[in-house]
Amino acid sequence: MKHPGARLRNRYAIVGVGQSEIGEVPGSTSLGLLTTAMKAAIEDAGLTNRDVDGLITRGPDDIYCHHQRMGQRLGIDASFSTSTDNGGASQILSVALACMAIDAGLCETVVTGFGRNTWSRKNQNDATRMRGNIVPQSQEENEFEPEFGYFGAPATHGFGARRHMALYGTTREHFGHIAVTFRDHASRNPCAQKREPLTLEQYLAARLIVDPFGLYDCSLVTDGAGALVITSAERARDLPQPPVYVAGFGFRNNLRGWFYDDHMVDTAAQQASRQAYAMAGLGPRDVDCAQIYDCFTYMVLTQLEDYGFCPKGEGGPFVASGALRLGGALPTNTSGGQLSEGHCEGMLQIVEAVHQVRRDRPPDRQVPDCEVALASGHGGNTVCHSSLLLQRTP
């Protein structure tokens, strides 16, 4: 039976992408970086701000009614606008909301994006550096966490990694292959935050942060932004860039929590990916490259399983086979990912997927004949997941 969402398959397209400077941008503001990225995306689409009547953003936590702030900066009164709150799953959610809003006749052309100045915020002073200040202090937990010395995202995801290791014999070397591969991809990307080569030996010798994670298991603390323009397939045909069609999307939010059931090993990506594949009429074998939400190495490994690229528990041998390399069976995070290119909460995953489907990357970064690209988003207290399949030929 046809998936109900298949009605939207390939009817909407990403027609513009943009990004700001990515990395350490001292003194930057999240709003300023996102303004730069959105301006670039609108111009890439061959449009002006007057052509945009929809705006969907995810604010960095501490900014109320974030989309209003962006509309003000970009001179956009919107027919449809909102800010989302699904953490790293928000960016793909924004793409889906854009398609749905256009489909409902609420607007015609939507800009989405995410920007952050987390490196600058973290490095304000010694206290923010120690706290690893990536969430506003007002959102830190008051009980059941800090009194036991439980702080930060590495520990949260480390629980999942440890459990996967215990259940399936996964090793730190397996995680290391992911970090080393993505660093190699970043070394080819002049915009990446970390470009110096990384070996498996260096990975294993690096200091432990929260065991089982060492330094290179953890994504970067980044200043940066990315943005997209989405419109109908009909309008896309009149615009300068090759349309990148939204073939499918899917979501799953395991709101009962990361600690509940075995959510930390059988992640929400299982159900989200099934929805996206069904909507698109595609399967794992159709995917030419994957841009996976890599907040930590382990999250790549478990998602590869959950997306059906290998059976559950076999992610370790799969990544050790070299499958993720450019030229491998499933080139993954071909711009370096959040582990090496820069962490913009899944936004740069979509930007890279668009470039791969457009086939406009230089030869050493381009997946040949890329027809279908997958992007994933994960976050929102580690339980919200979003899947996006982009396609060149509708």
Binding site: N142, G152, F159
Partner: protein, 137 residues
């Protein structure tokens, strides 16, 4: 009791205060539904299984197993400067809920997923007792 306790202390909410008051009496209590008899954590004013608002803070066994654990090497708070490396574990309580705590009296190389543990109360200040877990001997 330690006069110069430098680690963070829990800041109870109105919902969680009975849990912390019980800990001071060295009792490990969980919310338990009067309608379906199930336990839950973290606190909620209705049962997450059947949405009943009839429940009590019931005495729990304090027994469970290590569901997963990590070992902190990085210092995120000055109070833990001398504590690293220290373990933080998710305990799968026998009653069902999962509870985050520290495993104590256990060498790091003996800590493992599935390890049976029991609650032990750490009176860290005059006003605060933390429920921690140790291997069942």
């Amino acid at each position: 009791m330690n006069e110069t306790y430098l680690k963070p202390l829990p800041v109870p909410s109105e919902e969680s205060r009975p849990f912390w008051d019980a800990c001071r009496r060295h009792e490990f209590r969980l919310q338990r539904c009067a309608a379906c008899q199930r336990y839950w954590f973290p606190p909620s004013n209705v049962c997450p299984e059947c949405l009943s608002d009839q429940w009590e803070w019931a005495l729990a066994s304090g027994h469970g197993t290590v569901f997963s654990f990590v070992v902190f090497h990085r210092v995120y708070h000055p109070g833990f400067r001398d504590a690293v490396p220290y373990p933080v574990a998710i305990i799968a309580l026998d009653e069902g809920p999962r509870f985050l705590s520290n495993v104590i009296d256990c060498p790091l190389d003996e800590l493992r997923v599935g390890l049976p543990v029991e609650v032990v109360f750490d009176d860290v200040t005059d006003d605060c007792t933390l429920p921690k877990f140790r291997p069942v001997r």
